[in-house]
């Protein structure tokens, strides 16, 4: 608090001493940028989508975020773009021009009541400005707007608009050289974007240094990383609380390994601040979990994946944390540090009860370490939620097997949502180890797994359902990874006979 935050808001430089934990959503609306709407304040509807640009190798690089989960303090030196900042002309009066994205949304009836529309405009614009022409695709556009809810259109008109946008952008030819001026030329962005790189560069060195470490830091500041869950749980208190933004440079100065992904011999080291997006896009991760893209769209929307961190997901300790369960099955070890004091804890040993961690309040999760893949590694992730994409799981499950010459030499199956913590199905794993898969072995494993599940009734499903899911998702792992497994053999004699 009290520190000044300087950043670009659309085409203006803004300097503010508002609390650093204040939400960007509230801040921009107070400045009469009311196109950014509040729909849920928990990152589930996308009505408050914004772009956040930062210099990356001298050029501005934009990410899509929901302003309801982003702290103001983190915007220092960055470019925040609201829907108004995408308008080709500033005037509200007649003669307004529409960008290509806006024009097609109008033309195809992609907007009805209009409340969610600015969020869609921002997300669609983001997609066309960050994607190379050759890579533009329907699927990519879908993914970009997957975090935006619309209750009026049923999405079909929005998809028709999206197709038209893609066609127009492709027809205009891929922007050559420096992208931003080309995008301005193509009427996708207003003219001020052409010089935004220079303006950000001017601002970064002297005008917005990383804020000095807050004066006398209280004994247990609130650690805030991506904020995607913390703001939902404690949104009311954060703006006034002593917050330590883990994304600030002073944290990385103290704990350099908190950022970045490193391949170190047989070990893959993941900085705790690695976002889901960074994790999924990294070569080494993709080798270990080849089908990561298939799992990722189940896990969160793009704006959330851009913010949510691996470390945050683990420390948040939700029993149904998707990434945590994946990392648990992969066999993660954690590095916790407090100053120079550091220690290793296996992820499977971290949780002592519901939201109870083997972690001191001042201790920070710095690094997550995984064993890299061998020639025999097989990985899978399963998740069932009410809505297939972008929903919180009823039950999710990760699996890592090592199979040599038909024998399972290693079997680790995690299960989220079937107990108070993310859970490794230890008994199932031990049972499978050293075995060849046969219908009898699979059948036995399924009943052991169902027995290991100790779920409760809650809004995500009845205990009976979740116990059944534990069984079915293990069967799904087997079906996905091992061709010889016939799932129908494990669905009851009536079905086996009926087929």
């Amino acid at each position: 608090m009290g520190a000044t935050t300087t950043f670009m808001l659309n085409d203006e430089v803004v300097e503010t001493d508002a609390p650093r934990g204040r939400l960007v959503l509230d801040f921009v609306r107070e400045r009469r940028l009311t196109g950014t709407k509040e729909g849920c304040k928990e990152g589930d509807c996308g009505a408050c989508a914004i772009l956040v640009g930062a210099l990356d190798g001298g050029r501005p690089r934009y990410e899509l975020m929901t302003a309801c989960l982003v702290p103001l303090g983190e915007m220092a030196g960055k470019h925040v773009v609201t829907v108004e900042g995408l308008n080709l002309t500033r005037s509200r009066q007649a003669g307004r021009r529409l960008s290509v994205v806006q024009e097609e949304m109008v033309h195809h009836g992609g907007t009805q009541c209009g409340y969610c529309t600015p969020g869609f405009i921002v997300a669609m614009t983001w997609y066309v400005i960050v994607t190379e022409g050759a890579d533009l695709s329907r699927e990519g556009m879908r993914e970009a707007i997957s975090g935006n809810l619309c209750r009026c259109t049923g999405y079909n008109a929005i998809e028709r608009a999206a197709d038209a946008i893609l066609a127009t952008v492709k027809a205009k030819g891929p922007p050559e050289g420096d992208r931003l001026p080309a995008l301005v030329e193509a009427e996708l962005l207003p003219s001020y974007f052409a010089s935004i790189g220079d303006r950000l560069a001017e601002m970064s060195p002297e005008m917005s240094p990383a804020p000095p470490p807050a004066a006398p830091t209280p004994p247990t500041p609130l650690f805030l990383a991506g904020g995607t869950d913390l703001y939902v749980q404690r949104g009311a208190e954060i703006p006034g609380a002593p917050v330590r933004l883990l994304t600030a440079d002073d944290v990385a100065a103290q704990y350099p390994r908190i950022r970045g992904i490193r391949e170190e011999g047989p070990v893959l080291s993941l900085g705790a601040l690695t976002t889901f997006t960074e994790f999924a896009e990294h070569e080494a991760v993709r080798r270990l979990v080849p089908r990561i893209d298939r799992f990722l769209w189940l896990i969160a929307s793009r704006p959330i994946r851009n913010r949510a961190t691996l470390g945050g997901n683990i420390v948040n300790a939700s029993p149904i944390g998707d990434m945590t369960n994946l990392l648990l099955a992969l066999g993660a070890t954690l590095v916790l540090a407090e100053g120079d004091d550091r220690r290793d804890v296996a992820l499977r040993d971290l949780y002592r009860g519901y939201k109870q961690l083997d972690k001191r309040p001042g201790e920070l999760l710095v690094e997550i370490r995984l064993a890299r893949e061998t020639a025999h590694t097989l990985t899978n992730f399963e998740k069932v939620s009410k809505r297939k994409a972008l929903d919180i799981a009823s039950v999710c499950s990760g699996a890592r097997f090592e199979r040599e010459a038909g024998v399972l030499t290693h079997a680790a199956i995690s299960m989220g949502g079937v107990g108070p913590t993310p859970k490794l199905l230890t008994r199932t794993g031990i049972f499978l180890q050293g075995k060849r898969l046969s219908p009898a072995v699979v059948g036995e494993a399924l009943s052991i797994a169902a027995g290991e599940a100790t779920p409760i009734d809650d809004v995500r499903g009845s205990a009976r359902y979740k116990r059944l899911l534990a069984r079915q998702l293990l069967l799904a792992h087997f079906t996905e990874l091992f061709d010889e497994i016939d799932p129908l053999a494990h669905m009851g004699p009536e079905l086996a006979a009926a087929q």
Binding site: G154, Y155, K386, R387, A389, G461, R464, R471, G492
Partner: protein, 787 residues
């Protein structure tokens, strides 16, 4: 309004949505986007934390002591009457003695910031003696605890007809409600003005309801209350009656403090405090001849109405009207009751009770088909309603469109080949199965309360030729402003840029009906036509007098005067308007419309409640992953009956959006309540509505009617497409039966949990697992042999 005028002026080419350019630039203003007035206070509601109880004591002192709190109001601060309600006066704006549901407002905190107002609600100390809670409508029914009295529609003699039936099936349904999920939560802003007047900006579908109730609660005449609505960020029925509470509370705060007050519900509060689509339970009995003809249908509908009546009796009435959907039954008895429970008062939602009773009849038909071993569509098609056949409330079908849309769908979409593809897929896939369902819809247009079928409009023409139109309808995304501008442009012969549709304002248009019942364009469009024709007549007469031409030969097209087919070069619209002004001709007119020919006798439950019906048929294909219990809606193809579309983009948007809401209701959208009446799915992280990935491939084909009664030959389109979504449920069921042909229960929505437990629940019900009370059985016999 003869058809002559329709022919005379060609329709101007409408824009896809007249407000869309504002929306995409983030410039459209909703209630709290308008710059706040100086000194505005923010309000937050303290609500009942228990579902039933007696208030022993309220201590607002600790909240009042909060430094940013200006006032805390309770029922004793209400200057007028504390009784409100759309149908019965059984609600209170702030509870004084008893509370009947979790979320019922008890006190209003006013503070200088919204954060402080919300924080201070937690400081209120309220002691409530808990009383027994009822959440089950059947229990309320057994206790005789109703809103209003149960009603019965009858046709033929159902009791005698069972003897003629060769097959009889019986079963029951449990149908959950649905959250509206308008993206803009409820909100209102009230400004006190001189002389005790108060102006309110409200996100409401019913400005007159707000005006009427504010006047009651403040104890002032209605003419001191002005309600203004530019647009709302989605309504779907959720703001038809339930926006009123929040506007009344904001007005009360403004009245008491003398300062502007804004009340904005955050998402969680909106979910907890406001009612939803009604959950229904139902028992059905269907009798058929050996040839598959329907002979007799008996249904009992238990509407879970919630704690107060709200619009429940009217919703119930539409359940009665649509209980036989698109089919003819010679004998039927339809009984329905509004059962009072300790839940938030359930309310209007697109379809308004129609979807629930249509679901039940489709369930009955499906049960019969499964018993007979035939596909449901064989029974559906055989029994479609034909022109001249009576519905159980006396009105006869005036068109043959139920059959025509069905046949069109069958042919255009090549249903036979489609079925073969699905069968082939199922033969080739072991754990993935496809299902197909056909869903015909017949939906009546008009408010079922006949007196609501009236509307007014006020049209001004200024001397520069620009036109201002006020009407009684609310723009909520459905395209009303676009339709009205199109209608006015066509009536006056103007380009659309001369026409502005104003905000909806109770001082300009009095006694308006809510924007609901799919009838907003119908009613307000006709009223605007009436006003336009008055003005047009005067202007043409004036020009005739000026130019010595015959008024009846004159018209405007694209703002140019025509004498017959010839343009009169020197006379364009602005010149004509100026000439009228100089001749002191009135350039303003009030228009009025009352739908003709409507009547309904509640004592006899007979009449002609609807101006016309809208018809359509949809076909839905889904794929169920029978290993995981999850599914995808692959394709929906629709033949929809319209009049002459005022705007194809708008109409298509209504069909697609309505369908998607219907699909959501039948699948993902699950309102979970505890036995204590607490809503468990109270955030968007737990209440899941369809996202872009859930949208099916969609094809819509129009089938036009010959002489539709809507303005300029159109037909209403808002609600009927919702019910196409019901097909999704039965397609999922068909896929499940392709995997394991069992008599699954007819409980909706078909959540992944229900699907998986129905398919595989037996795996976790082995005696080895510890015994525990089971929730609703996954598999329940739907059809039992008749006596």
């Amino acid at each position: 309004m003869g058809p002559d005028a329709t022919v005379r002026n060609k329709m101007p080419k409408p824009p896809p949505h007249i407000e869309a350019p504002l929306h995409v630039r983030g410039e459209s203003e909703y209630v709290d986007d308008v710059a706040p007035p100086l000194g505005m206070l923010h309000a937050a509601v303290f609500y009942a934390p228990v579902a039933h109880g007696r208030i022993r004591r309220i201590d607002t002192g600790p909240a009042l002591a909060h430094p940013e709190v200006a006032a805390v109001l309770t029922s004793s601060d209400i200057p007028g009457t504390n009784e409100l309600g759309a149908i019965f006066l059984d609600e209170q704006s702030l509870a004084d003695e008893m509370v009947h549901y979790i979320g019922q407002p008890i006190a209003l905190v006013l503070a200088t910031t919204v954060e402080a107002a919300r924080a201070a609600t937690h400081l209120i100390d309220c002691d409530i003696e808990p009383l027994p809670v009822v959440v089950d409508p059947r229990r309320a029914h057994d206790a005789g605890d109703f809103h209003g009295t149960p009603r019965t529609f009858r046709i033929g003699d159902v009791e005698a007809a069972w003897a003629d039936c060769d097959v009889i099936v019986e079963g029951s349904c449990d149908i959950a409600g649905q959250e509206h999920l308008y993206l803009e939560t409820n909100r209102a802003r009230a400004l006190p003005q001189e002389g005790g007047r108060i102006t309110i900006a409200s996100s409401t579908q019913s400005p007159y309801s707000v005006q009427r109730h504010v006047a009651r609660v403040l104890g002032i005449p209605e003419h001191l209350v002005e309600v203004d609505v530019r647009r709302i960020g989605g309504g779907f029925g959720g703001k038809e009656d339930q926006a009123t509470y929040w506007a009344v509370l904001a007005a009360l705060g403004a009245y008491v403090t003398g300062r502007p007050v804004q009340l904005l519900l955050d998402r969680v509060d909106d979910l907890v405090m406001t009612g939803k689509r009604h959950p229904y339970e139902a028992d059905f009995k269907l009798g058929l001849g050996a040839d598959g003809r329907f002979i007799a249908y008996d249904v009992t509908l238990y509407q879970n109405s919630g704690a107060t009546a709200d619009l429940s009796p009217a919703v119930l009435e539409r359940s009665l009207f649509h209980a036989t959907n698109a089919y003819f039954f010679p004998h039927a008895r339809i009984y329905a009751a509004c059962c009072r429970t300790n839940l938030h008062p359930h309310t209007a939602f697109r379809g308004f009770g129609g979807p629930q009773s249509m679901f039940v009849v489709e369930a009955a038909i499906t049960a019969a088909a499964e018993r007979l071993g035939v596909a449901p569509w064989e029974l559906q098609k055989k029994n479609l309603l034909r022109r001249g056949q009576p519905l159980p409330y006396g009105q006869t079908a005036e068109e043959d469109k139920a059959v025509e849309t069905w046949v069109e769908a069958e042919e255009t979409f090549d249903l036979a080949a489609w079925r073969a593809r699905v069968d082939a897929f199922n033969a080739n896939h072991r754990t993935e199965k496809k299902g197909l369902a056909v869903m015909p819809v017949v939906f009546g247009i008009s408010f079922t309360k006949t007196h609501l079928n009236q509307a007014s409009a006020l049209v001004h023409v200024y001397t520069d030729g620009s036109v201002s139109v006020s009407n009684g309808g609310i723009e909520m995304g459905q395209g009303l402003t676009t339709n009205l501008a199109t209608i006015v442009g066509a009536e006056l012969g103007l380009d659309l840029d001369r026409v502005r549709i104003e905000s909806t304002n109770t001082t300009r248009v009095a006694n308006m009906s809510p924007s609901a019942a799919s009838a907003t364009t119908d009613l307000n469009g006709h009223a605007a036509i009436d006003a336009c024709r008055k003005i047009r007549g005067r202007i043409l007469q004036c020009v005739a007098d000026e130019t010595g031409r015959a008024a009846e030969d004159l018209s405007f097209r694209a703002s140019q005067l025509y004498d017959g087919a010839h343009a009169v070069e020197e006379w364009d619209w602005p010149r004509a308007v100026t000439a009228c002004y100089l001749r002191r001709v009135d350039l303003s007119a009030h228009g009025f419309y009352a739908t003709p020919g409507l009547h309904f006798d509640v004592a006899k439950e007979r009449g002609r409640p609807f101006a016309y019906h809208v018809y359509g048929t949809s076909v839905t294909e889904v794929t169920v992953d029978c290993l995981r219990g999850v599914y995808e809606v692959d394709t929906v193809k629709i033949v929809h009956n319209l009049g002459r579309s005022l705007n194809e983009v708008v109409d298509r948007g209504q069909i697609e959006g309505g369908l998607m809401q219907g699909i959501g209701w039948m699948t993902l959208e699950e309102l979970a309540y505890g036995d204590d009446g607490r809503l468990l799915s109270r955030a968007l992280s737990t209440y899941k509505a369809p996202d872009v990935y859930f949208a099916p491939d969609l094809e819509v084909k129009w089938l036009e009617s010959e002489r539709p009664a809507g303005p300029r030959g159109s037909k209403a389109v808002g609600e009927p497409p919702f019910m196409y979504g019901i097909g999704t449920y039965f397609a999922i069921r068909a896929a499940m039966r392709a995997f394991a042909p069992r008599p699954y229960a007819f409980d909706a929505p078909a959540t992944p949990e229900r699907v998986l437990l129905a398919l595989h629940g037996h795996h976790v019900d082995q005696p080895s697992s510890q015994p525990q009370p089971q929730p609703a059985p996954a598999v329940r016999p739907a059809s039992a042999p008749a006596e």
